[in-house]
Symmetry: D2
Subunit: 276 residues, 4 copies
Amino acid sequence: MNAKINTKRKRVKFASDNVTGACPEVLDAIIKANDGIAPPYGNDEISGVLQEKFSKIFEKDVIVYPTASGTASNALALSTVSPSFGNIYCHKFSHINVDECGAPEFYTGGAKLVPLSGKDGKITVDELNDNIGGFGIVHHTQPSIVSITQATETGEVYTLDQIRNISEIAHKKKLKVHMDGARFANALVSLDVTPAEMTWKSGVDILSFGATKNGCIAAEAIIIFNKELVGNLPFLLKRSGHLLSKMRFVSAQLDGYITNDVWLKNARHANLMAKN
Amino acid sequence: MNAKINTKRKRVKFASDNVTGACPEVLDAIIKANDGIAPPYGNDEISGVLQEKFSKIFEKDVIVYPTASGTASNALALSTVSPSFGNIYCHKFSHINVDECGAPEFYTGGAKLVPLSGKDGKITVDELNDNIGGFGIVHHTQPSIVSITQATETGEVYTLDQIRNISEIAHKKKLKVHMDGARFANALVSLDVTPAEMTWKSGVDILSFGATKNGCIAAEAIIIFNKELVGNLPFLLKRSGHLLSKMRFVSAQLDGYITNDVWLKNARHANLMAKN
Amino acid sequence: MNAKINTKRKRVKFASDNVTGACPEVLDAIIKANDGIAPPYGNDEISGVLQEKFSKIFEKDVIVYPTASGTASNALALSTVSPSFGNIYCHKFSHINVDECGAPEFYTGGAKLVPLSGKDGKITVDELNDNIGGFGIVHHTQPSIVSITQATETGEVYTLDQIRNISEIAHKKKLKVHMDGARFANALVSLDVTPAEMTWKSGVDILSFGATKNGCIAAEAIIIFNKELVGNLPFLLKRSGHLLSKMRFVSAQLDGYITNDVWLKNARHANLMAKN
Amino acid sequence: MNAKINTKRKRVKFASDNVTGACPEVLDAIIKANDGIAPPYGNDEISGVLQEKFSKIFEKDVIVYPTASGTASNALALSTVSPSFGNIYCHKFSHINVDECGAPEFYTGGAKLVPLSGKDGKITVDELNDNIGGFGIVHHTQPSIVSITQATETGEVYTLDQIRNISEIAHKKKLKVHMDGARFANALVSLDVTPAEMTWKSGVDILSFGATKNGCIAAEAIIIFNKELVGNLPFLLKRSGHLLSKMRFVSAQLDGYITNDVWLKNARHANLMAKN
């Protein structure tokens, strides 16, 4: 991606994050999970408690589906909420629009990503508002989701106010709000807010929780803040080959990652490194 | 569509075109086709000679597939040429992008329509050139087609030079050129050029030839200027329910439409009406 | 299709039906519809009253969507009711399984047609019952629809009892019942029952009402007996290019076809011809 | 799956294989791969040499794409070779037909799995031959692939002769041969033949090479024996979210698995355990 960005504005930069391995706690969790036998397809103990642990972190009963790839998380989350004729509003430089070879289109059966120009790398309420329309008219694809990236590909971080304002518009018009949190932890420590504040308390309905870029090998999670949005996700997961038989090894990574604030420590360290 | 357009610029306006019925010649052709029996699925005599007649009109051996809807013509033409991970470059106000409820995405299996802002309602070579990229990089959807509308939804007509320049860029980068000719005849008589000049001689590879808006009941044609581009179209036609069993009635409309310059007379009349 | 069939059993044979044109009443309706202007996309007067007329015929408030092709009717009806991971149970020789080049799979986004061997060309309750299973298990595609063809491709006609028994099993297991009625009229007069009896009174939820093979040029209708099943059909119709702009000409054919029992007269005549 | 199988016939049984963890060599390979940094998306050194190592094992220059799930491997392999309107012939109890929630249909855009009854759990040449047909007829989905499972879900192993005979029919009719090798190693040691003999030397064109069930955590490979069949696979991999950013950890598992005959030892041990 060759997005030209304003390098003078203050941004949170992140150290390159796909080239490193796992942090020690995550690797240990994998090794420990390898001991003994366990039921397949997420019916193991580690996967079982994960939902509880994430619910504690997010101060709400959440639904958690571990996956092994961020592109899969995004595409599955979007296809759970959008019909095939839906509009997904996103920044023109967003990962879902530019860097996933059309995964959201594939998973949704052909939804339309509506690219917004934004300001400082972020979607603006005004542009969003201008672009949402055509409800109920069969000639037009139907507004379904707003997807924001936290932090963005260009290192921008939405403030809580910005998230809330976007969510307000979206919900007022019956759209859902998705957050691509491939760099969720980095944004979180940068804003110094709680996971709840940065998500459902600000109107986010469904989250792609990233972990691979911040200490895991291949571990992400789709986190749903409202049970009614789960829809057909379990079937879509299986149907797309993302329900791993030995799912416990993904769950174990996530477990090691969120236990004892490992994820937050990693993110603080990464943010610090990137500043220097 | 609420596209704000510059009303001072000279444009070819068209009389409203979906509310009228068929012209007498086309209705007569339907009535005549109803006489006797004929093989189904386009294997009848009328359908057979159509290809020859269109080849004469276009001064080239063309491949013709009649359809009953413009949206189907466009979506089938695009899906014949673009892979599911293709980019289709089009004007942001184009029918394929705004008025077909995502038919191109559905038919292609999720290709991405890249909306261009253009100038005076038309795609510009510069913007097109800036947006084509990412070849061979698996993260990016792959540039596949440029689709231009002649005349455009807002009544603009591409000059031959403009078509040629767009085609040149497209072909240089290995993209194909599609023309949405829902109002093909109106543009043709407005430019006062030949069908060949406005299409393949200017680099167009595949054409949605419109007739419904200019004197037919429900008749369009996908016209392919290069046999190698036919690909899987016959199967896609059937698979989408657009291979009508009594196809001869669509072919008959087209036959009545292109015989004795009926289509050109209709278009001249419509353009004249619209001016007044 | 080269299905070997028992030629000794009594069956209703039908005269070849794709090679003829329209009957006089239908052709007259087209000519009459051509007079004057009318709103596009089914918002015309003829299309408007069609729903009322069909409701009278079926003794129930039905929802009617005219289409121009039987394959489209079937695929649209099925995709309205089945998820992409659904199972559609059908006879192995059914049109949807053998003669539509995978249209149901295309429209549903990849549902699985489960072919049943049946007896005398018809699905049996026992075989159906044996094959429905796997509910709620993510590894398995999910039972969604039973599709029966009335009359079948091989000329068999389901009795009311047979339809009722199939529907009973289907509904008990939360599946919907689709009837492919490409030869609906022929079956109806053969059984000498009412349209209501052969459909919703026997448990049919959604019907592909055929007219092309029995006197029309290109006219079919999707008829829904329960408003809640309409789902996204209006968008799917448009998205697939089957919402014709001059829809009134399809509606007019249907109108001419069902007025004054034309359709029943045609079917009686065809059945008689086929016997001789 | 509750397939009733003949338990008297001699079969190779396998110990349950999704509940165990990784074997020591594979776990060590993961730990070792975690040391230092490496390019993402399979551009690392481990992934690089994998192709060479597999080529040695298969005595042929093969193309290797690592994945993290068997369902993904199968669906990606099939969608690389079959068009959306293709027929994929398989055993009615095969994993692709029964246990993947329609993944092949999803990935191919709606291809039709044609389920064969087979004999002793395996496809027979005669039944296959009877079912392949309809070439070039637009009404019919088009024969594209035969998929055999080695060893089958019910523990059967195709002999080399059986594979060769199936391949011969397939190739004669221009179909490709896919092998679902989720239990490839078990079948290999059971037959006591070479990987080359059990695949391309017997006509297999594309293989889903399983490793997860025999000592890995989440590692499979799509192995292509003919470069021309690669097609769009790299884009489909990315587009489906199966191109992991830290792909080297999947490659490392495969590397540990195939080095020093670990895979064959594991399989011999598993087969032995299953017999007792």
